[in-house]
């Protein structure tokens, strides 16, 4: 197990290195190759060549590209002290993980990400609870009541939320509950620690939007897996041996049927942690997704690069966690 985890971690580091390399190349090298300079993005109107040179120096763009990449990677791993911000010694400390400095937000990128992450985490956790509970619940119920009313009702639920575009659903929720019925105030995110009620009010529609959409997918998958598992010989054997139906379902069928769901859930959660772009934008939730949209709009390259790498990190870590958990849930899987 330990050797497996170490091997996976080394692989993860390699993947992240490649992602960093590609990201750096895409945002820092390609503009140079096309004759542009990221410095123009910060310079305002009519920048003189001297101003561009000054900004390039401040960004470190006047150094050779391999050196720039080395400094960037070193910053992520060990931090940096060469970011110019006008402090007395001409530099500011940027402890690891340092993804550079955002001239748009006038702050180290990691500080911005740290500031925005709790919002995305709140969105993700709430939505994941909804989709896992609802999706697995409906799927199991539907499989166990195959052909019955519950099954048909769940099919309607699944079809409705799979076919309903999430952007439409989100706007619909906003119109009905905020501006129509006025059950909720206009969204204004407040940290959980500050005001739990306002935190809940700000997030509930986002949770429903993501939760119901994903729940439909998970219900469909769960139902299919459960139906397949319930037709396995060992289930028939268990029933034939006189085990109670509840035990058969919970201890034998669900355990096997839900194992693939675990894999998908891990990746979905990791993907969402990288930023629920659309939902955060519609509900004005200042999380990583919205930060990504803003950074693209403002052409804030350091933030875009930082977010890309952090999002990749979530996916890579989730992959490892899912694989490890998979073996715990299903002993048939051997890590080696």
């Amino acid at each position: 197990m330990v050797r497996y985890i170490i091997r996976r971690l080394l692989g993860a580091i390699a993947v992240l290195f490649i992602v960093s390399l590609v990201t750096f190349g895409l945002f820092m090298v390609v503009p140079v190759m096309t004759g542009s300079s990221p410095a123009y993005l910060y310079a305002g109107k009519n920048p003189t060549p001297e101003l561009i040179a000054n900004i390039e120096h401040g960004l470190g763009l006047d150094r050779p590209i391999p050196e720039q990449f080395y400094i960037y990677m070193k910053g992520i791993v060990a931090g940096r002290t060469d970011l110019t911000d006008g402090t007395a010694d001409g530099s500011r400390p940027c402890p690891a993980p340092c993804f550079g400095y955002s001239f748009r937000y006038q702050s180290p990128v990691w500080d911005i990400i740290k500031d925005r992450f709790p919002v995305t985490l709140s969105v993700t956790v709430g939505a994941a609870i909804i989709w896992l509970v609802l999706g697995i619940g409906v799927g199991v119920l539907s499989a166990l009541r195959r052909g019955g009313f519950a099954d048909r009702a769940s099919m309607v639920f699944i079809l409705l939320f799979l076919s309903l575009p999430s952007y439409l659903f989100a706007i619909l929720l906003l119109y009905v509950f905020v501006y129509g019925l006025k059950w909720l105030p206009p969204t204004q995110y407040v940290p959980l620690s500050e005001n739990p009620v306002q935190w809940f009010q700000a997030l509930i529609l986002a949770w429903i939007t993501i939760g119901f959409g994903n729940a439909a997918l998970y219900a469909r998958l769960t139902r299919a897996n459960m139906l397949e598992t319930m037709s396995e010989d060992y289930i028939r054997t268990a029933v034939a041996k006189g085990l109670p139906r509840k035990t058969v379902v919970r201890k034998h069928a669900m355990r096997a049927a839900l194992t693939p769901i675990l894999t998908i859930a891990g990746l979905d959660i990791a993907f969402l942690l990288g930023g629920a772009i659309f939902v955060e934008k519609v509900f004005s939730l200042p999380g990583l997704g919205l930060l990504f949209v803003e950074a693209i709009g403002k052409q804030d390259l350091p933030v875009i690069m930082g977010l890309t790498i952090v999002s990749s990190l979530f996916i890579v870590v989730a992959n490892i966690v899912v694989d490890v958990l998979y073996s715990a849930v299903d002993p048939r899987v051997r890590l080696s």
Partner: protein, 594 residues
């Protein structure tokens, strides 16, 4: 380079460039005292469509309450030296004072500059190379310390630290004051010798060339005082020291900002501002539909950074009650196509004129949003800039501005291309770019001009290195390109210098896209650097406009307008031409005191 919030989403710097501090009227020298709008001679009305464009709506002395603003994106910076968004310059008036300021008055009246912290307009020498200002007594920062002219000098010195303090229009100041000074960070022992402070209330600027509009530069937040002891360099924008009637009480970047009253601000020293509310809040709402809904429901009072969406505009226009609380003013921003004279056959003026006559301006306005999006432009100078001439139309292009095809064909024959020619159109594959390409292709195709789209591979560098690079224009054989412009300060020089003067042509980041080198334009702009008489300034502005239009390198088609909605509870509300015809937030009150 639009200033509406729809366009700013993908044009942050462009929008910054479109500051659209539209101008008219007032001289660079400003004049006498100003008055707060509630006490001024400005007409006061109870409301009505477009009422706030020309009058103070719901004048009232009632105090208290909170002005609730919303914006689709946060300010680029609260550091007065680093902000360049039009609405953020307006926001700066809440907490930042300058030597001069735009008058608190509706419409064109607001484009005049008047003394703010200074006792009077700048005193200049004959050739406009030396400007002296005196500070009023009793000026204090929010921390209680006294504002001195040394702080103003230090604020200007920071502009030279361009590796740290960038993003704002620093180059106006740095180019006039020193070629060698490196700023207070890189050169702490150095001194910007061209600016002297004989005492704490006097400051003298010695320019290296004449600049008659210097009072306007002193009215921009870029020239705000910064106390050296409180300068946190790159972090200064997180909590700038306030000199105005409000100060930041909380700031969450990308989320919200709140201002409360500055206890050390003294109304007796401020003839520009007459604040009524106790607090101002700005919340970032990223979804435009949600933003409009909140505005129309009264949850927010104003959209700080632009107008409402087209569907909201339609619903407001259909409801007389709502319409009475809406305004549709010009922004001072003009949209045009650049006709590149450096690429054949457009090096032949008659060929360029053929494009002018065949162009369908109505179609382009439709693409941009129809009548509420702007007025058809027939010349370059925007409505509020001195030099604007109503009815001046050197290239009349047919009924409803859809094109004069006969005239266009005649011009084609004159330039030796009776069957038309091929032309490359530069565009960005974002926003309205593809639609503009389709429209131009169709309407020029009517006279045989075959348009080929050339997309900028990197939309972000469209203005800086695609059409902003004269060599790239020739290399890519570009014939036409969509662009736009708004002046940083509302004077003819402020509007024209960057886009028409041959001395402003840069190898990259160039805004004189057609590389116009016209002796009349250059000499008139030179004359404008020494002229402060309003009538003469306006005449010189017209001269430049005529010369530029005669060169047929800029094809104007739309004078932008924005469609605003204001909460009926707001008092003392008007659109200030000096701040790009945004509402003058600092003087707004509430009728309910809430």
């Amino acid at each position: 380079m639009a200033i509406t919030r729809r366009a700013t989403a993908f044009a942050a710097l462009g929008a910054a460039a479109a500051l659209a501090l539209a101008a008219c009227g007032g001289s660079g020298g400003g004049g006498g005292g100003s008055a707060s709008p509630s006490a001024s001679a400005s007409a006061s009305t109870a409301g009505g469509f477009n009422a706030a464009a020309t009058s103070v709506v719901n004048a009232s002395d009632k105090t208290g309450g909170t002005l609730k603003l919303a914006a689709a994106s946060d300010c680029d910076s609260y550091d007065p030296a680093r902000t360049y968004y039009a609405y953020c310059w307006d926001i700066q008036r809440l907490f930042t004072r300058t030597l001069m300021a735009f008058k608190s008055a509706p419409g064109t009246e607001g484009t005049a500059v008047v003394p703010d912290m200074a006792t009077g307009p700048g005193e200049s020498n004959a050739d406009k190379t030396q400007w002296t200002y005196h500070l009023q007594p009793g000026l204090k920062y929010s921390d209680g310390s006294t504002i001195t002219t040394k702080d103003i000098k230090y604020g200007v010195e920071r502009l030279f630290a361009s590796d740290v303090i960038n993003g704002g229009p620093s180059s106006y100041y740095t180019s006039l004051l020193s070629d060698t000074y490196k700023g207070p960070y890189a050169d702490p022992s150095g001194d910007l010798t061209s600016v002297t402070t004989p005492d704490d209330t006097t400051i003298v600027f010695n320019l290296n060339k004449p600049f008659a509009d210097f009072d306007f530069l002193m009215a921009l937040p870029t020239a705000a005082p910064v106390p050296q002891a409180k300068d946190t360099k790159a972090d200064y924008g997180k909590m700038p020291v306030a000199s105005g009637p409000f100060m930041i009480s909380s700031f969450q970047p990308g989320k919200s900002t709140e201002w409360v009253r500055n206890p050390n601000w003294d109304q007796a020293t401020d003839k520009v501002r007459s604040p009524k509310v106790d607090k101002v809040s700005l919340v970032v709402i990223t979804d435009p539909t949600d933003e409009d809904k909140r505005l129309m429901s009264g949850a927010v009072d104003l959209l700080a950074d632009g107008g409402v969406m087209p569907e909201t505009t339609a619903s407001i226009l259909a409801d007389p009650t709502k319409k009475a609380n809406a305004d549709n003013p010009p922004t001072g921003f003009i949209r045009y196509d650049v006709v590149f004279q450096t690429v054949a056959p457009l090096d032949n003026k008659a060929c360029r004129e053929a494009v002018f006559y065949a162009f369908n301006k109505s179609a382009l306005r439709r693409i941009n949003g129809g009548e509420t999006a702007g007025e058809i432009a027939t010349a370059m100078v925007p409505t509020l800039i001195p030099g604007y001439e109503e009815g001046y139309d050197p290239y009349p292009n047919g009924a409803n501005n859809t094109g004069d095809l006969e005239k266009a064909k005649a011009k084609l024959a004159e330039c030796g291309k009776p069957d038309g020619f091929d032309l490359n159109y530069a565009y960005r594959n974002v926003g309205l770019g593809p639609k503009a390409l389709a429209s131009v292709t169709e309407n020029l195709g009517r006279v045989g001009i075959k348009v080929h789209g050339v997309v900028a591979s990197d939309p972000a560098s469209y203005y800086s290195t695609f059409i902003g690079s004269p060599s790239n224009i020739v290399k890519m054989q570009l014939g036409l390109a969509g662009a736009g412009w708004g002046a940083d300060f509302p004077t003819p020089y402020g509007f024209w210098q960057s886009i028409a003067n041959s001395n402003a042509i840069l190898p990259e980041g160039n805004s004189n896209y057609p590389s116009l080198k016209d002796a009349t334009v250059d000499s008139t702009l030179e004359a404008l650097t020494k002229e402060t008489d309003p009538a003469k300034v306006a005449d010189l502005g017209k001269t430049v406009d005529h010369a530029v239009m005669d060169a047929a390198v800029y094809l104007p088609f739309l004078l932008d307008k924005t469609f605003f909605y204001r909460n009926p509870r707001l008092t003392n509300i008007y659109l200030n031409g000096g701040v790009g015809n945004y509402y003058d937030y600092v003087n707004i009150g509430t009728s309910d005191g809430m």
